[in-house]
Symmetry: C2
Subunit: 190 residues, 2 copies
């Protein structure tokens, strides 16, 4: 079941460094791309950073709308994640990467951008406009305004993947290769 995540704990959805899908929408057009280059940037208000290349259709839509969403894909979606990372909407006649890559969108709660069905966490973001970062570094900052998780693997502020191997998050390296999120390692916080 999709449950809301407290914004003060939303950073934990990205803290372990998963690859994400970035969705965008403007003027009735939508897009989705993959981004290994993302991170949390602040606890509260929760902020994130993500690299959106200047040649992407996503950049056009995000610049127009001022919003984007991050969906955290799972192991079962590794192929779709590579596909959306390899194909540019600019090269498709209808620019419909969702259909091309078998990505099923659903409506977000607070921003007018689709989220991705089958993912295990979602963050709805408003761009914190920083033109120099955006133009010089392809670096976008966002404030998280709503966050969600699949409660089979995230609840009470914690990920718990035991028994749900296909729902483990994925971490891209290169050439189609990911690592799945692995074993829990516990240290003592004094």
């Amino acid at each position: 079941m999709r449950i809301p995540v407290e914004l003060s704990k939303a950073y934990r959805l990205l803290n372990h460094g998963p690859t994400v899908l970035v969705t965008s929408a403007a003027s009735g057009r939508t897009n989705v791309m993959a981004a290994a280059w993302n991170m949390a940037l602040d606890f509260m208000p929760c902020k994130v950073a993500v690299v959106i290349d200047k040649n992407t259709y996503t950049k056009q839509l995000v610049d127009e709308s001022g919003v984007f969403a991050l969906s955290v894909p799972c192991r079962a979606q590794a192929q779709a994640t590579v596909d959306v990372g390899s194909i540019s909407a600019n090269d498709l006649p209808d620019r419909d990467k969702f259909a091309k890559c078998g990505i099923i969108p659903f409506a977000s709660s607070l921003i007018d951008v689709p989220l991705v069905e089958g993912c295990v966490a979602w963050l709805e973001c408003r761009v914190i406009v920083e033109p120099r970062n955006q133009e010089r570094y392809d670096l976008y900052l966002g404030e998280v305004v709503a966050a969600w998780a699949d409660d089979r693997v995230f609840s009470d502020g914690r990920w718990h993947f035991e028994g749900f191997d296909e729902l483990r998050t994925i971490h891209y390296v290169a050439g189609g290769q990911f690592f799945a999120t692995g074993d829990v390692v516990e240290a003592t916080k004094k």
Copy 2:
């Protein structure tokens, strides 16, 4: 054995989202902190982004020297990583977090900042000065000028952890809990 990593492939050391140790040095003083909030920012020249809180001693040293290094710790170093993330050098009489946390430094190649012994990858970085990011978001950008890896787990631009479980990289969540980097998931890049 510690081997050099081509700068064009250095992003792969961070691409899968491991938590890193940030080391710094200035005027004969040194420090180390942990940072889950890091990411690659560009391929070539290789750039990285990392969040360095304004209240940290690390920030003082990095602002003074204009350089920092990232060392990528492994599973065997999970406790030390939590320790350096929990203790502030500002609270230690001698400000020596290395000794306090059992962190053994060694010399880097191109910048005057220690790297951390026992880690599995290292990136030597020069700050790309962006005062607004640094002051407003605690966000530091760096150009990677040298990179290294332990060839038991990274060579020819690929991580390969099989047979070296204690050398798997780690991904922090919260409260002392990490995930180790898990199984390889292969997708087809068309």
